[in-house]
Symmetry: C2
Subunit: 351 residues, 2 copies
Amino acid sequence: MKRPTQADVARLAGVSRATVSYVLNQQENSRVPISQETRRRVLEAAQKLGYEPDARAQSLRSGLTRTLGLLIPDLQNPHFWQIIQGVTQQAREAGYELLLSSSELDREREEDSLKALARRRVDGLILLVAFTSLSEEKLEELAARRLPIVVIGCRDGVFDCIGSNYYDGARKVMAHLLSLGHRRIAFLHGVANITAGQDRLLAYERGLEEAGLPYDEGLVERCGPSIEDGYNAAMRLLNRTPRPTAIVAINDLLALGALRAASDMQLEVPKDISIVGYDDIFLANYLCQRLTTVHAQAEAIGQGAVKLLLRRLQNPELPPQSVELPTRLIIRESTGRAPRVAADPNSSAEV
Amino acid sequence: MKRPTQADVARLAGVSRATVSYVLNQQENSRVPISQETRRRVLEAAQKLGYEPDARAQSLRSGLTRTLGLLIPDLQNPHFWQIIQGVTQQAREAGYELLLSSSELDREREEDSLKALARRRVDGLILLVAFTSLSEEKLEELAARRLPIVVIGCRDGVFDCIGSNYYDGARKVMAHLLSLGHRRIAFLHGVANITAGQDRLLAYERGLEEAGLPYDEGLVERCGPSIEDGYNAAMRLLNRTPRPTAIVAINDLLALGALRAASDMQLEVPKDISIVGYDDIFLANYLCQRLTTVHAQAEAIGQGAVKLLLRRLQNPELPPQSVELPTRLIIRESTGRAPRVAADPNSSAEV
DNA sequence: TTGAAAGCGGTACCAG
DNA sequence: CTGGTACCGCTTTCAA
């Protein structure tokens, strides 16, 4: 009752194992000629036995697993899922399978996963944003292992990387809010690892600076990456006096939390408070207040990551590539003109 | 520059390959005694070379890959994400990795994935809901292959399966709506494969029947599984005359679409229309109208699936197991008393 | 306490 | 056109 092997097929077809291999592999590229009759017998035998070649054995010989590793910091963020979708699509198209691992924001798990993937000899690795932990030394180790790696969402010069132009997108957000007359703009900063959000924070600061507005540390609220974190942090922001008139969330998930927080404070969006996200998750367009956000081409990022990886598999000596996808501000219903009252910072204690 | 092998370690430590294997594997269970000195030398050598055993080779010998396959119909539904999260957690805990494959609702892709996973010799397979396509013959083939399989979300008697008690949950939904005075209750039926929703539909019918209400085919709207499908289908329902006073969506994703549709029709939830979902995705509690829904223990389902699978790996001869998790109706803000007007079916053309 | 060698299931070179 | 055979990297008897 064991699974049939090549030898079983050979026996049944009355040929050698080598012949079975030839028939099954060189379907098109018939470098080794096989008689029609033999081919037929082999295929028939394989069919009858329900033979499926063992990918482990093949891979042991060929050195290739046709499997990619995908390491994710956490599985709650819809944006990540869209990226994963892009990755799976492209991987499938190229005939690769995907080994998925979530570190759940835990440093140790991340390293364990890395090890497990390495042992399974994935042909390449896609690291999502993260760097939750990955220390310098860990990175060097990876690089030394010559395991092709693509990093999503953070350019770094040693690995291939791909991501949307966060800085640019965030600049557009600031320009949009400033043009609507907002002066007290808060920033909701919650990501798996601090460095991941730096570009957006920088754009925020620059935007304020160029508008001649002061950078107020009290308007930058740091929190974790979950929607609940976003909700709580937004609550804190909305309780400030004077209250901000706009909140820029570092991603749509947090913006969702903020939206709900505003609603719980009996604030109307966008009349009392404007809220902007980042990513343009597919839900953004189905919320009660359709979310103004920056479209980040999640699927294209996922697909691009796979493409970069495959390119490197072809040519390991390429210098590190870096791809930055353009962003687009999508103005929907969650942003509007700044409320009058807040234009004058002194008169806004009218909760 | 190639990756170091066991032989390299052996050479460097001045021992045989067998010894390396002993040292590395029998860390605890020291059936084969190794001298402290030798052990030290081997570990040191392995460390120095950055040696990682090749899981393919190990697996070829042992017959086990310590890898599970997870086949998903599509990646858009947050409920699935939560299940996947449960799966990854439990798999990690048991020391298994996960090969993820999404069929994107395509029959052919599903079969391709199945083949790819089988070739990679996953130790077991988790099939999410789906059966998008899986024909009888395909199923038999799988069963014959003696590949341990757990099906999520649909009891079927031949494989192990796990899911929440959909029927029971949906009954609670109906009871809730009926108790609120609803009489025109619509059903939003959009899933990857028709059979997946049958239990909920059945509960809907029974509920009506027991309340002495007629089953109106016009109030059952079938659609695809995406949020947009849900939105469009809900629009159609809301344009019916007389309009339904409540919509039961087959899952939260569609309920989300319905919520937005109601809003676009200037209807207030729950004053004008009540909406109920199913699953209790984590977003349900952060919508503008917090969604009334049935909590389905997504993560527990994912974890349970892995447990079932591992149990079967231990004991392949077990009869098919079936686990049904209890559900809980969670009443939030999207349901309320039926509007007066609709109590009399003849007076509700007041759009 | 350690080593030699037989596989696990394929692939591909070299003969015939 | 087809078969024999030496690996791929590891585990596990069996001997020494």
